[in-house]
Subunit: 243 residues, 2 copies
DNA sequence: CCCCGGTTCCAACAAAAGTTAAGGACGCCG
DNA sequence: CGGCGTCCTTAACTTTTGTTGGAACCGGGG
């Protein structure tokens, strides 16, 4: 994948939540990005490491997670193409969590230095990136609610809808089906339940004819009951800056 | 409380995680702040509202929370003097959660306009506030892990230690005891458990001689076992910008 | 001073989730 | 094509947590 396409993915996404001037787009296009391929299930940055670059996902799925002393792991977010999951490392240099690939992925690395220079030159872009980290935080808040208050089947549905809405923006949902390349173990880690229980929940949703999950692909069967179960409100996801 | 003292609380906290130049401090001191008193258990900003000011806590405790369709409420953070819990509203104007007081509180309101102007004048301060929102996000990540992976007693201990460490910075811990002005109902909402279970957990920690919780005040009995249970790593809380 | 409302506390029972264990499906590699 | 490993699947049993309901406590207001 050429480096241009990678920038394009980023710009496309940024344009959705902010209006960007042409000259600013050019600035982004001029950002030096070094591209690297990663296999599935590989750490990109680890908890405790000091980051000097931010990682733009050009293709593939990633996840952020933290592991506690007991060895249990909690997935904090699923990250998709066009996103910069570790933008926070720009100012919080030492990582407080892991970033790793779920699938084989194409990642573009942008140095902190280049980003900071860009911010100085174009404060508007700095604000846009700041906004981006704030939406990230909003997603964490919703994730807390999901794990803390919803019964397990609703948790799964909620994560699915959120992922679908985000994939929809980048044109990766077709005919009510979309990718969610997690093992049941990982689904459990995302929902704060065990893999066995995750399996129970998946089966239940299938038996009730709500949603099908097979080989990392989600197919919604009964849209109405699916949305009802998920209790999803997209307000936190995309908010126009003009609001 | 005079408006000077309020600014002082903010500056003191900001100085801890960043080095600020004298002229920048002066800029902050020049910020127009309008002070208001709030009774306990009162909404400051509500989910869905459009914010035009940010709220600096001068005195008292606040909490952020979200309520889902079923009526269940999840507390997302506990907020203490010196903090600006809704700084995110600067760019995410419509609130995605509630901010309310736990105790009677003195709050200082700073208009978005004034903050944005300050940022234009002093980009370094903008970065400092950005950093602040990033630490906020780091705390959300840890909160997700707490609710998602730790057994209930550890969850309680973890929230207690986090609060204590933050209170310590502002000089509000004396002799191993500190304020945590939550009802058991609210503790449940913070930990993602019911009030009844919260009560069980509190009793258990008391019976095991680990920590005492009485009338909104926490007294640690066995520091070693307390820390061990909490599984606390302060890395996410304060990170020097020079790191 | 006493009553009232909100906490705190507790017990018994129900439901949800964790644990352990084991068989089956599937893809990959030799 | 057969074997191996990973994931999925399921069942039986245990533990944790939720639910319901009620008693004791406590502080503030009449």
């Amino acid at each position: 994948m050429p480096s241009d396409e990678i920038r394009a993915a980023l710009i496309r996404r940024l344009c959705i939540s902010s209006a960007i001037a042409d000259e600013d787009i050019k600035e982004i296009e001029a950002l030096p990005i070094s591209v690297r391929q990663y296999p599935a299930e590989t750490a990109v940055v680890r908890d405790g490491e000091r980051a000097t670059d931010c990682c733009l996902i050009a293709d593939g799925f990633c996840a952020r997670s933290k592991t506690i002393a007991s060895g249990k792991r909690q997935i904090l977010s699923l990250d998709i193409p066009g996103e910069i999951p570790d933008l926070m490392s720009l100012f919080l240099h030492v990582m407080d969590h892991d970033l790793s690939t779920l699938t084989p992925a194409t990642l573009g690395f942008i140095s902190h230095e280049a980003l900071l220079k860009l911010h100085r030159r174009r404060p508007v872009l700095a604000e846009m990136f700041w906004r981006d980290t704030l939406i990230d935080a909003a997603m964490f808040r919703e994730w807390i609610v999901n794990v803390g208050q919803r019964p397990a089947p609703a948790r799964l549905a909620h994560v699915m809808v959120e992922l679908r809405e985000r994939l929809r923006i980048i044109g990766r949902v077709d005919e009510g089906s979309f990718e969610m390349p997690l093992t049941q173990e990982q689904i459990g880690e995302a929902l704060g339940i065990t893999a066995v229980h995750a399996n129970r929940v998946i089966r239940q949703l299938r038996e009730e004819g709500i949603v099908e999950l097979h080989r990392g692909r989600v197919t919604v069967i009964d849209e109405r009951r699916f949305l009802e179960l998920a209790d999803f409100d997209d307000r936190y996801l995309y908010q126009s800056p003009t609001l």
